[in-house]
Amino acid sequence: MDIFTDLINETNRLIDAANQNKITLRVFGGLAIFWHSRSDLRFFKRDSPDIDFVVPQEDRHKLEPFFREAGYLPDKQFNLLNGAQRQIYYRDQAEELRVDILVGDFEMCHKIPLHDRLQIDPVTIPLTELLLSKAQIVQLNHKDALDIISLLLNNDLGDDADGKISLERIESLCAQDWGLYKTTSINLERIMELLADTRLNLTAEERIIILERIRGIQKTFAKMPKSLAWQMRDKVGTRIRWYEEVEEVNR
């Protein structure tokens, strides 16, 4: 069994066990991209043995006993200092497999609220938030860009309940948070430029599908209601930093 298959199996095992323990564990990151792109995995690339989860704030105190029971050891020092926002567990002493858990909302360059949203998908965070979790990265790298392309290629715009990317949710979040809107807009432009690269191995039809979905999001941005505070922040623009700084977890 290769590492990736092992990761998938382990993720399923943990989610099932969490459900039995009344813990809402939902995947984000690479494995979630895989889950929502499994009909066409051309753009899915992963090399690190990490599983990323989000858990509701109220479940955080259940995590350590749950993961110990599941055969994991906590990163005690990290969890002690950061445990209210983030926790890390390792499957064995050699730290071969790492489980990285965000507690409560998704918070990196921008905050994406997940309160009351973790029941929408039984495995991952909602597809819309998953897309935004990639689109909110200020220093978008090639792998992140491919993840966005993969999600947009394999998932239509539509309704949350139908397992699609919800424009309504994107509008609701970006109308409240100018910073999230700005970074998402910048990254969608980057993706549009990237689509011109012939090395991506996309057919003309696939490019059109992705471009149409990007334009659908951009149209939503154009017509969404904008508060006075949002408009004032827009006037200031990127002269003032509009995102949180994200750092490495050095082990």
Partner: protein, 541 residues
Amino acid sequence: MTNLFVRKATGLVRSWSVFDAFVYAFFSINLITLGLYSFSQMYYFEGGMINALVISAIFIFFEVVVYAGLIAVMPRSGGDYVWQSRILGGAVGFILAVTGWWFILWLWVPLYGDMFRHIVLVPLLGILGAKDVALWFAGTENGSFVASLITLAIVSVFIALGMKTYARIQKFSFYGGMLGLLIVIVLFLTGSNAAFKSGLDANATALFGAQPGVYDATVQLGTDAGAITPFSGGALLAIFLVMPYMVFFNLWPNWGATLYGEVRGATDFKRNVTGMGWALGATTLLGILLLYSIGRTIGWDFYVQAGAAWWNYVWGYTDVAPALPVWPYPALFAAFLTSNKLIQFVVVALMSLWWFGWCGTVFLSSTRVIFAAAFDRLLPEKVAEVDGRTGTPINALLLMVVPSIIVAFMFSYNIASFQSLTLCSTLVIAVTYLGTTISAIILPYVKPDLYKASPIAKYNILGIPLITVAGVIFGGFLVFLLYQWILDPNALYGIGIKNTSSVIYMLSMYVLAAIIYFGFKSYRKRSGIDMDKVQAEIPAE
């Protein structure tokens, strides 16, 4: 694909922003709690208050440079403990860090409690008409002890809420407290001395049952107590002799040093200097403005005399009780410039946020030193565990809270002259800072690889590393302070070798730290763990 990044970051957003760290530093050198409390005690100096405030701030700026540099090199939770143990060695690092960041904080609890009753409880209760309760808190040993217990309860709750929530409390307190201070300064600058005199006499009688003629009686009592400290001026030596008292208030812009493992962008030296430096600069400027405005309306001489009248009685130098039966709190004096009870309440309530925003500092920094020592296995691992239900580091808190109750009891009831130990709270931490400063001075020479790879390696003065230069200047300042405190040649500070309680108290802390260190080292050795090797490694973030 030129517009994409080569990004390494795995996406950790640390709990505190640089602004949060600034607010923590700003509150750590708290003008209203520490500042006004110590200014009121400094009534018998010949050097000018403003001069001492400014000159001490200049020296303390070099402390900021030293700590900002060390944070940039090793941004680790535990701060001084990590730096000293990795540069000076395990024994020195542990003993100096736990005495300065843990044990001596037990003594700070009754001091925080004392400020709680004088700045929050007594004035608010008085304005609300609860005269007897206010006077019970203001003037009784039981009131003092209960204020310390309430302080401990509030601080424990704040610690349990975690860094992120505490930062929110601090920010709210910062904005509210600044609004309160603005109102106080405006009231002083627009009021007159005559209005203050009549306001004081009327309100002191109405709210606290003082005898009529409070103002004149206070002037007399203060003069008899030897109140002489000038607003400014004085010979250079006289000004320098004010500073060992002044630093009780402003030596702490680096108080967040142990928390910088949880601050975003802590490897940025300039940003660290900016955060702590602005806190120091803003506090110094606000201090000058507030003291000036106090002098303008209350009258500088009266302000010093009121402090003298209060402390001369509290310290037992006279049996004559102060005419004003509560601590002379300038914000309360400002409130007396209006007869509107609602405005009085709002002013004092907003000013009380200076205490609420600050009180968590008594334990928050300390918990990180305890954690760091526990992760090095110099304390039981249980100490660094959080309670599964509440998420509170309950054992670390107990190590702070339980001894604090005993020390607060001794302080409140003045057992073994504990109330004379106020400045010990500063002395012991200054010794710890000296250890850290020496670490900073020698860092480029004893850990050249670490230093050269750090962001501060590019900062030099005449070819000498900036951190070394800043360390020598600040270290010299600390040596001066320690000389004055310990030998006390002018009998000004009361905590040195002439005070038996002080010597016993401080030495017992160092002995306790040494016993823990060597005891655990020996215990770990028997378990096959070499503590020297553990403490030779830089801990993980």
